[in-house]
């Protein structure tokens, strides 16, 4: 146990010793040629970083190209399936299975009534709503009960329990669910009326264990939220759609995910040992061999942080949570034959979660240093430009596919100009703190009740 605890430090020491040995040998050759050691060191470091950044850029271009290609293939596939099988011929209303909507709520008093009322308007004949009050200290329970009492047609149940976190609340909902399918969502999100019909049709395929929904930002009120709106559009229209093409979506978003209840029970529901329980559960499903689809027309409208510090708090938690979930399933990283596509998914997550923020930050520091030291600021400009071009191309594609506001493409430039630099700093610190095993708390974002 002790060895495992300190293994990361041993690895770090080995790397430092190796690098020092290489430099020491190089020193001998410099002495022979009467050169400067600091100059040699600088040349070595700059050359190593240049090679690394070149590899990173190649990977990045490959990543964008692959995601756009697969995403477009998925788009074509969904268009052709719609053409072949019109939705109204899909199933009779009377044969649609029951779906239980689980709404975990912790201090969502401001938004819970609007959220539950919006759920009552869903276009589906056979569903129930279960609100799980996770030991709120405000009036969430009373407000949810108020809506439940005034409702006659659709069953609304409100369960209150001691505060135990979102994972426990969702598990409570799963246990109480009477439906064959369970839709998990956030207490502060609003669903599009076609959500249940759109998601349920994927379960005709017996290999599909869960369906991830689309998430869009509702409070597009300032530059932070507008850039986040673009981020969500890109993340879902490009990454999620591409993953859906290979039936291996890596994160079923917390605001909207539908599951077979039997599958949830099979994997033991949500675990509360990570801060990204949705990512952890998705990986558990993938490891068990279940396929996960993405449904772009099922939309959850969510309120995103409108201030910088709340945004950093959210991203900090996401970064650490995803790293925890990846570590938990890290055995698949080294078993490509056994794990198959899951191995690729985990490496992809590590690329997105660790390599990308570290590399962009490293690139910025490197090119800023070269610009200041050697007067080559144009290099930084070209570095920035190529990343921005990739962002703009991806944003344009996603805006067209999602039929979103064209003005969002402009925010791709803002995204690269300042937004991602600030976010990446937090992600890097979060990764370091996770690596060092710092304690952290869940945190609760303050809602403004925009729904």
């Amino acid at each position: 146990m002790e060895i495992k605890k300190y293994s990361r430090y041993v690895w770090a020491a080995v790397i430092v010793v190796t690098l020092t040995t290489i430099l020491a040998f190089s020193y001998q050759s410099v002495r022979e040629q009467q050169g400067s050691f600091s100059l040699l060191l600088e040349n070595y470091v700059l050359m190593a970083i240049t090679v690394y950044l070149l590899i990173f850029l190649i990977l990045l271009v490959f990543r964008y190209a692959l995601l756009i290609l697969y995403s477009f293939m998925d788009h074509l596939e969904s268009l052709s399936s719609k053409h072949d099988r019109p939705e109204n011929l899909y199933r009779e209303d009377s044969s649609l299975p029951m779906v239980s909507l689980v709404v975990p709520a912790y201090n969502e008093g401001l938004v819970i009534q609007a959220a539950v009322r919006s759920l009552l308007k869903l276009d589906y004949p056979n569903y129930e709503i279960i609100v799980i009050d996770d030991g709120s200290t405000d009036d969430t329970y009373e407000k949810a009960l108020g809506v439940a009492r005034e409702q006659q047609e659709i069953t609304v149940r409100v369960i209150t329990k001691r505060n135990g976190g979102k994972a426990q609340a969702l598990n409570t909902g799963m246990t109480a669910a009477r439906g064959e399918f369970v839709l998990n969502m956030d207490g502060d999100s609003k669903l599009s009326s076609n959500t249940l019909r759109a998601c349920i049709r994927h379960f005709e395929n017996p290999k599909i264990g869960a369906v991830a929904g689309n998430v869009k930002v509702i409070n597009r009120e300032n530059i932070w939220t507008k850039i986040q709106a673009l981020e969500y559009v890109e993340g879902l229209a490009m990454a999620r759609k591409a993953q859906s093409f290979i039936r291996a979506v890596n994160i079923i978003p917390g605001p909207l995910g539908m599951f077979r209840k039997s599958v949830l029970q099979q994997v033991g529901g949500y675990d509360d040992d990570t801060f990204a329980e949705d990512c952890d559960l998705t990986l558990k499903l993938l490891m068990r061999g279940w396929h996960i689809a993405y449904e772009p027309t099922a939309i959850a409208w969510v309120e995103t942080p409108s201030g910088l510090l709340d945004l950093l708090k959210q991203r900090y938690r996401w970064t650490r949570g995803i790293l925890q979930a990846t570590t938990k399933h890290s055995h698949a990283l080294w078993q490509p034959r056994k794990a198959g596509i899951n191995c690729f998914i985990l490496w992809y997550m590590l690329f997105e979660g660790i390599m990308w923020p570290f590399s962009t930050l490293l690139g910025n520091v490197f090119f800023a240093y070269v610009g200041l030291q050697y007067g080559l600021a144009t290099l930084l400009f070209y570095w920035w430009l190529q990343l921005t071009v990739l962002d703009v191309v991806a944003a344009s594609y996603c805006v067209v596919i999602e039929e979103e506001e064209p003005s969002l493409i402009f925010y791709a430039i803002m995204f690269r100009l300042f937004y991602i630099n600030i976010i990446d700093v937090s992600k890097v610190f979060a990764t370091i703190e996770e690596w060092r095993g710092h304690a952290m708390t869940w945190g609760k974002l303050e809602r403004e009740g925009k729904l």
Binding site: L309, L361, A368, A377, L380, F381, W384, L417, F418, N421
Partner: protein, 73 residues
């Protein structure tokens, strides 16, 4: 100074500026998080197992206001 040089200077200044803002914002977020009072730590009603026990306060009645026989009982 040509256009590329001007743009390069703008990007250089922006990049350095945003990285400094990023570090500052991260420190501010951590400080703000630490300053928020932790309910558990300040909640005196929690016992060793983190279970909260109800506190029943007894109304204070001065001795002089109570008859000697009642008080003794």
């Amino acid at each position: 100074m040509d256009l590329i040089s001007i743009l390069a200077t703008v990007i250089l200044v922006t990049t350095i500026g945003t990285m400094i803002v990023g570090v500052g914002a991260y420190i501010a977020f951590k400080v703000r998080d630490k300053r928020k009072p932790s309910k558990k730590r300040n909640d005196d009603t929690l016992d060793a197992t983190d279970q909260s026990e109800p506190i029943f306060l007894k109304r204070y009645i001065p001795v002089s206001a109570v008859g000697p026989s009642t008080y003794e009982q």
